[in-house]
């Protein structure tokens, strides 16, 4: 089973880096949809029903933490796997991410770091066919 991934980031380049990493990883991703802020992200979750959300924290309109909290408040999305990809490294922010049961990957990240987080986030939920072999063993960092 391949998964649908929603990538939320206000930077088009940052979204493309995440998408390119997933495409190059060989992971079983059936479809990737995009949103530019947390508000758009919530709308995309309702509309697209992704299996996984990869989101930035620092965004206009609605930041990633607020979007994450709203996802956790809703019964239909309170267990949706979420990976936060952000430059923000304060312990307070990381604690917020952990409390919301989301994974965290610091920017800049290596392809291995992101793909491992993807596998870890969704394997338990749906056994989506993302095998460890799909992790690229070399290549540039993003």
């Amino acid at each position: 089973m391949a998964v649908k991934v929603l990538v939320v980031d206000d930077s088009a380049v940052a979204r493309r880096v995440v998408i390119k990493t997933l495409e190059m990883s060989g992971a079983s991703v059936s479809e990737i949809v995009q949103a530019a802020d947390g508000s758009q992200g919530l709308a995309a979750v309702a509309r697209e029903r992704p299996d996984l959300v990869i989101t930035d924290l620092n965004m206009p309109v609605m930041d990633g933490i607020e979007m994450l909290m709203k996802l956790r408040e809703a019964p239909e999305t309170n267990e949706l796997p979420v990976i936060v990809v952000s430059t923000e490294g304060s312990e307070t922010r990381l604690a917020q991410v952990r409390e919301a049961h989301a994974a965290f990957v610091r920017k800049p990240f290596t392809p291995e770091e992101l793909v491992r987080a993807v596998i870890s986030a969704i394997t338990g939920a749906c056994h989506a066919g993302l095998e460890p072999e799909a992790v690229p063993r070399s290549g540039p960092d993003f």
Binding site: S11, V13, K20, T87, E88, G89, S90, K107, P108, T110
Partner: protein
């Protein structure tokens, strides 16, 4: 040299290594000599102290770094988005280095700077990095002064 320069260089080097596949070396002069006009981007932050981080390079360097990240299939203004994202990532990596990981900052949206436009606040740290694609200036401005280097510590 302000004590924050080595920390800023560390954060900037980590960013360019990770995001652009570039292995920067520090320019000893700390200044880039851009042949023509340069492009800059900055982010402002608030928290225990306020400030801004800027990244400046030539347009050719910005385009080359963008192609390193995304390949040749990039839009005409992708390098501007790259520049803004680089300022954002450098800032996010510099603040824990400079202020510690317990300090909580709010980082604003990145914005473009005009040619030679400088940050409003006084510069507390400034480094120039050289990568094969060109020279990059990174500045850290703050509303608090950078601490003086310890006596006997490396510059």
């Amino acid at each position: 040299m302000p004590d924050w320069n080595p920390k800023l260089f560390l954060a900037a080097a980590r960013t360019f290594e990770g995001f652009c596949f570039a292995n920067p070396i520090q320019d000893p002069d700390g200044v880039c000599r851009f042949g023509g006009s340069s492009l800059g981007a900055a982010v402002d932050f608030t928290g225990p102290f306020g400030g801004s981080v800027s990244v400046r390079m030539s347009e050719a360097t910005a385009v080359a770094l963008t192609q390193n990240i995304l390949g040749d299939d990039v839009g005409p203004e992708a390098h501007l988005d790259t520049l803004k994202e680089l300022a954002n990532v450098v800032c996010g990596n510099a603040l824990p280095e400079i202020a510690g990981t317990t300090a909580v900052f709010r980082i604003g949206p990145p914005y473009l700077l005009q040619h030679k436009e400088q940050l409003t606040l006084p510069t507390a740290a400034h480094v120039a990095l050289t990568v094969p694609e060109g020279c990059i200036e990174v500045a850290f401005a703050a509303d608090v002064p950078a601490p003086a280097p310890l006596v006997g510590s490396p510059a």
